[in-house]
């Protein structure tokens, strides 16, 4: 009843090209952003920031980056953790080695280094496709893990690759409390989500999707596969690298290569698939699901007052997590974003469907 576009006429091309063509959507997003920027920092308890909100924001940024590569360009990557690691460690090096480097500067430069590595490991995608490519990207994962563990220069000669940063500040403002960290991440996420959304609506996004749907046909109509695939790798690994730098700097504070191991890559891929391939919104849904689910499962026995052995609890968590993943894939292979759009379609006709 409330959600329909009757009477909203578009009289200019600009109006026709908006991200959210329906006024109610615009109001909803504006309200959501206002809530996230103004209400949450003042009201949320510290635990919520540390355990859920900050990881959720950073991982949804990483999932967004991965979604560009997997969902929009159709190149499966199992090496996302590696690109996060490159972003984190490169940003660390910029921060430590260059005197007076601003935090945002090192994070973005970390992203750029990740872009370079991403393009390098993206080159095989020009020849390798599908599952073969998926395994080939694992090469990035293992090689990067190894090099941060063994090559001392990357980690400023710290033992076993564990590094830490302290005293973060942006333009003189310190980032200390969880609420500050949350706002810092939120600003990044909001900005990158907008960038990504516009990018996938532009000609380059259409090229990616054409490559995804059928690369030979796309090449025939004049899309350069080399350019399209490598830009997808570049953009994706830039965003993932920035997310990695945020994960290290803001969420963890001190970290070692294991923070970005293969489990992280799988976790991100789960987010993208469960959230919905080829959907910006889906990345957020997926991240929320995968971040919150283990916490809920861990706490479930306590809420119901069932005494349970911790080892057994962690196995049960694994089992339920795995089963839910399979369940979701069976029920809705197109992800939560699909459910969201079905709900919106239904809502437009509610309460008088045809």
């Amino acid at each position: 009843m409330l959600y329909r576009e009757n009477g909203q006429f578009k009289t200019t091309y600009r109006a026709d090209e908006q991200i959210f063509p329906i006024a109610q959507d615009r109001i909803f997003i504006a309200a959501l952003l206002a809530f996230a920027f103004l209400v949450v920092p003042l009201t949320a308890p510290e635990y919520l920031f540390r355990a859920i909100l900050i990881p959720f924001l950073i991982l949804s940024l990483a999932a967004l980056g991965l979604n560009i590569l997997v969902g929009y360009c159709g190149q499966i990557s199992l090496g996302t953790g590696a690109f996060m690691a490159v972003g984190a460690y490169a940003a660390y090096n910029f921060q430590v080695r260059i005197e007076g480097m601003p935090l945002v500067g090192s994070i973005l430069l970390g992203g750029l280094c990740s872009t370079a590595v991403g393009i390098l490991f993206g080159i095989p995608s020009l020849r390798i496709k599908g599952l073969y490519l998926a395994v080939a990207t694992l090469a990035a994962q293992f090689f990067v893990d190894w090099s941060f563990l063994r090559i001392k220069w990357f980690t400023n000669n710290s033992s076993s690759g564990s590094v830490s940063v302290a005293g973060l500040n942006v333009f003189g403002l310190p980032i200390e409390t969880p609420a500050h960290k949350y706002l810092f991440c939120l600003a990044f996420v909001a900005l990158f989500a907008l960038l990504a959304k516009n990018l996938v609506r532009s000609h380059i996004g259409r090229e990616w999707m054409a490559i995804r749907d059928m690369d030979v046909a796309a090449a025939v109509i004049g899309i350069r596969p080399v350019y399209a695939k490598l830009t997808a790798f570049a953009v994706s690994s830039f965003i993932v690298g920035v997310a990695g730098a945020l994960w290290g700097f803001v969420h963890l504070g001190s970290w070692e290569p294991a923070a970005f191991n293969i489990d992280r890559s799988f976790q991100l891929l789960f987010m993208v698939i469960i959230g919905g391939l080829g959907s910006i919104m889906g990345s957020f849904f997926g991240a929320a699901f995968i971040v919150v689910l283990p916490i809920v499962l861990d706490n479930l026995p306590y809420w119901f007052g069932i005494p349970i052995d911790t080892a057994l609890a962690s196995h049960m968590t694994n089992m339920i997590f795995g089963a839910l993943i399979v369940f979701f894939l069976i029920v809705e292979p197109h992800g939560l974003a699909k459910l969201w759009s079905i709900a919106k379609e239904k809502l437009r006709l509610w309460p008088f469907p045809h």
Binding site: I76, P124, Y132, V135, W146, L277, M319, G322
Partner: protein, 309 residues
């Protein structure tokens, strides 16, 4: 020279064991187009079942014969693996027919989590031993040719022989039995196979059971070498480059790929490792595969990928 030979032989034996795990991947991919990431979890699950049954069965039935206990445990573990195969097909794969490869891959990742959790819930999460009586003492070969001879672990040798025998057995099964022929038909073309009356669902259960069988053998061998514990499931990550190197659809490819990566890994670790920091075994296989794929995108023995619009 003797040392090089020793390294190579060591590599060949490890490689044979990689092939054993890789074989499970190839069988399932060939027959159902599913890239089964859960193979590692199946190895762990099977090894856990074997280790615990060989403890429980003698205790429960009250006898003390190791051979009999092992045989019974093997049979019981095999029953469990068939049940797992049947359940996976029934509850998961038959509902995901016609989905894209990546969705199926994700589903097997979900199965991986489930099996890891289930195995450790049922069978416990300590480190267990599997003792099938493989001799542990080393063997010296070619003592007349080189000074000191070439040192070979007897355990490794037997393990490699078992792996080779299994591969031979599977090839014969695929080549000469009716079921094997049906499996090859399904691998070739699902629709055509179905249209001449081959029941796809049953074939998939069989394939997953056979993969479970290879997982069991791999689990026993790896388990008796390293002990049965969670890290056993990581063997699958070592076997992935083997599968891709040999080609996803080729059984001989899995064997030869395993041997190449086994040898390459050992030789590079010994001769290259000290110069660039050691531990390069972790990524050697993957980087090698990356370069091979640049030349042959379908792996060494895979079917040529033809793109049509």
């Amino acid at each position: 020279m003797g040392f090089l030979l020793e390294t190579i032989i060591g590599g060949l034996m490890t490689g044979m064991l990689y092939s054993l795990v890789a074989l499970g991947f190839v069988l399932i991919f060939k027959a159902s187009g599913v890239f089964n990431f859960a193979q590692g979890a199946m190895v762990l699950f099977a090894a856990l079942a074997m280790a615990r049954f060989s403890e429980w069965i003698p205790k429960g039935l009250g006898f003390d014969n190791k051979l009999l206990a092992n045989l019974l445990a093997f049979a019981a573990a095999m029953v469990v693996m068939v049940a797992v195969a049947w359940l996976i097909e029934r509850l998961c794969l038959s509902r995901l027919v016609n989905q894209e490869g990546i969705t199926l891959l994700m589903a097997t990742l979900g199965i991986t989590y489930f099996l890891d959790g289930l195995g450790q819930t049922i069978f416990g999460n300590d480190i267990y031993k599997i003792d099938i009586g493989l001799p542990k003492d080393p063997l010296f070969l070619f003592e007349s040719l080189f000074q000191g001879g070439v040192l070979v672990g007897k355990e490794d040798l037997y393990a490699a022989l078992i792996a080779a025998a299994l591969v031979l057995l599977l090839s014969l099964f695929f080549q000469y039995t009716t079921t094997g022929r049906a499996l090859r038909a399904v691998a070739d073309d699902h629709q055509a196979a179905q249209s001449i009356g081959i029941p796809l669902n049953r074939i998939w259960v069989i394939v997953w059971s056979v993969a479970g069988f290879t997982a069991l053998v791999a689990g026993i061998i790896w388990g008796s070498k390293l002990g049965v514990q969670f890290s056993l499931s990581l063997v699958a990550l070592k076997a992935l480059p083997v599968v891709i190197l040999g080609g996803l659809t080729s059984v001989p490819g899995a064997i030869i790929g395993g041997l190449i990566i086994g040898v390459g890994e050992k030789v590079s670790e010994v001769y290259l490792g000290p110069h660039i920091g050691g531990g390069i075994e972790i990524w050697f296989g993957y980087v090698l595969v990356l370069f091979v794929l640049l030349v042959r995108p379908q792996g060494l023995f895979g079917e040529k990928i033809i793109d049509r619009v």
